[in-house]
């Protein structure tokens, strides 16, 4: 297991957002976390990415306790994330954004007088990721001028530029038209292979996407793990389909991976 969470609890006053959640993610896996609103998905991803400290339980990344160590340190260890509400640097161009990620990965943020423009490793690393995500033509466009879908891609791309071992994506296709969702997911899966990312964890509402790309699905309900199984097993479990996914979900497509 690359990432292992055991007995995670999170209390907000009286409210119990997570109630003893355990999960593991192994190398080579694409895991989706699903559940109705308020099931604790956001709390879980915030704990897994070090933003929120759990009230109880532990998070181990490669056998090292990382619960609540903060996103910056976790990113340097090899856990990257993207956000549900797109997060970009409005005044920085696509290339500058990716360069910042490469600078952080190489630990060169303290280089005070060296020229960024002449740092070939940073320049090429950023350009490579831009091309990988099809943002090459927009590399000199400031992030605030990008269309919404490309902002989303840039957010994800900058996490990929960190070359993490595991990446956590909070609704990578939210706010994107249905037609573009599959394209984004395909780009993402292909890019993760090129970059060498070992595992992907995503929170996703779109069940077509979830069933098409996941190796394993973890269903949350009221702060507890309701099911943790392969897509085929989830589909045949009527209780999970009813509570978590709702009856509206049509016949899922076969897994593409």
């Amino acid at each position: 297991m690359i990432l292992q969470a055991t007995g995670l609890k999170k209390l907000y006053g009286e409210f119990c957002a997570l109630d003893g959640v355990s999960l593991g993610v192994a190398a080579g896996e694409f895991v989706s976390i699903v559940g109705p609103n308020g099931a604790g998905k956001s709390t879980l991803i915030n704990i897994l990415t070090g933003v929120t400290r759990p009230s109880a339980g532990s998070v181990r990344f490669k056998d090292r306790e990382v619960g609540g160590i903060g996103p910056a340190r976790l990113a340097r260890l090899g856990v990257a994330r993207s956000f549900q509400l797109v997060q970009v640097f409005p005044d920085l161009t696509v290339l500058e954004t990716l360069q910042a990620a490469v600078v952080a990965r190489l630990g060169r943020g303290n280089r005070l007088f060296s020229s960024l423009a002449r740092d070939r490793e940073v320049q090429e690393g950023a350009l490579e990721v831009a091309e990988l995500f099809g943002l090459g033509d927009e590399r000199h466009v400031p992030a605030r001028q990008l269309p919404q879908g490309d902002k989303k891609l840039l957010d994800v791309a900058s996490a990929f530029a960190l070359k993490p071992e595991i990446i956590l994506l909070d609704e990578p296709t939210s706010g994107v038209s249905t037609a573009d969702k599959t394209a984004i997911m395909d780009t993402l899966v292909a890019a993760s292979k090129r970059v060498g990312i070992k595992a992907i964890v995503q929170v996703e509402h779109d069940m077509d996407i979830v069933f098409a790309y996941s190796h394993r699905i973890i269903a949350l309900h009221q702060g507890k793990v309701l099911a943790d199984a392969a897509p085929a097993a989830i589909v045949s479990d009527q209780r999970v389909m009813d509570t978590v996914i709702g009856r509206k979900a049509g016949r899922p497509r076969a897994s593409a991976c």
């Binding site: 910056a72 970009v88 303290n110």
Partner: protein
């Protein structure tokens, strides 16, 4: 890429060399030209925080005052007259004092950061006002005329000294300061500062140490401001607590806003326009603060990116038409 570096700097250097005749033609004195150059250093110091890190300090008079008092103390008490030694000592002292101040201030952002820097500025102001033995209290300390590059110029009439060697010396300091700052903002470190300015949450998830980078930016800014402060001493020949008063911090923020904090040369332009207007308006009406207040309001509403922002906007518009 390498071609991009010197051109704007050369234009700026040329502009500053041509500044004295221009100012004279505009009816200003040469001493105000020196003032422009010195405040340009101070505004550039502030702008690494305001324009590149997204933190507005209202306490930079602390570091300006610190640099000025360091110079005054060295010339009167320690008999050190070399301006090079004074500037290096001022920078070192500025950085040293900035360490604890920055460590506290950078934990906060926005108005809390501004108020905290203001508070430290007021503490320092009170210190120089009350510690009579060290600082001369409200009378201040004399700043004896420093030697420039080993040349003692004590025999020269004061005006000749200020408009001649001292002006060009200050200009040289500004040039070096700008070159250093240019390298800093175009380095990997500078890029990290810009990510923090734009979106600290996102910067953190990329593994960029937000607090650490803010801290370094503050210390660099303080060292630069102290150099500007030390240069302010010789023109008046005396250093008093008004240098460290908070309105002085406010003036530098105003200059930086006026010129435009989104542009590298905005602070320099701001210092020039501010001092020119101040002289001009003061010669016509006694209520110059009233006019400046109205101007500040207009800038914030109509040109939030300052004068350089207006220039950039016009250039973008004409590029779009073409």
């Amino acid at each position: 890429m390498s071609k991009r570096l010197p051109i704007p700097l050369l234009i700026a250097a040329l502009g500053l060399l041509l500044l004295p005749p221009t100012l004279l033609a505009l009816g200003l004195t040469m001493t105000s030209a020196t003032e422009v150059v010195i405040f340009a250093v101070a505004c550039m110091a502030l702008n690494i925080l305001v324009g590149y890190t997204g933190l507005v300090s209202f306490g930079h008079a602390l570091f300006i005052g610190l640099g000025a008092y360091a110079g005054a103390f060295l010339t009167t008490h320690a008999k050190i007259r070399s301006l090079e030694v004074i500037l290096v000592s001022a920078a070192a002292l500025g950085a040293l004092v900035a360490v604890p101040v920055a460590a506290l201030c950078v934990r906060y952002v926005k108005i809390y950061f501004g108020m905290l820097t203001l508070a430290f500025g007021m503490v320092f102001y009170t210190f120089v006002l009350k510690f009579y033995r060290l600082t001369g209290g409200d009378e201040g300390l004399p700043f004896l005329r420093p030697s420039l590059l080993g040349h003692s110029l004590d025999a020269m009439p004061k005006i000749d000294y200020l408009v001649g060697p001292y002006y060009y010396y200050s200009l040289g300091v500004l040039g070096l300061a700008a070159l250093g700052m240019w390298r800093i903002v175009h380095s990997p470190f500078g890029l990290c500062l810009k990510t923090i300015r734009d979106n600290p949450t996102k910067a953190e998830t990329l593994g960029i140490g937000v607090t650490r980078h803010r801290f370094y930016a503050f210390v660099i800014s303080a060292a630069y401001a102290a150099v500007g402060g030390a240069l302010l001493g010789p023109p008046t020949g005396n250093v008093d607590p008004t240098l460290a008063y908070w309105t002085h911090s406010g003036n530098i923020v105003f200059m930086t806003l006026l010129g435009g904090f989104t542009n590298f040369f905005g602070p320099v332009v701001g210092a020039f326009v501010f001092i020119y207007l101040q002289n001009w308006v003061m010669s016509i009406v006694p209520y110059w603060r009233l006019i400046f207040g109205a101007m500040l309001a207009l800038i914030v509403i109509f040109a939030p990116e300052g004068l350089m922002g207006l220039v950039a906007r016009r250039r973008r518009a004409s590029a779009a038409r073409a």
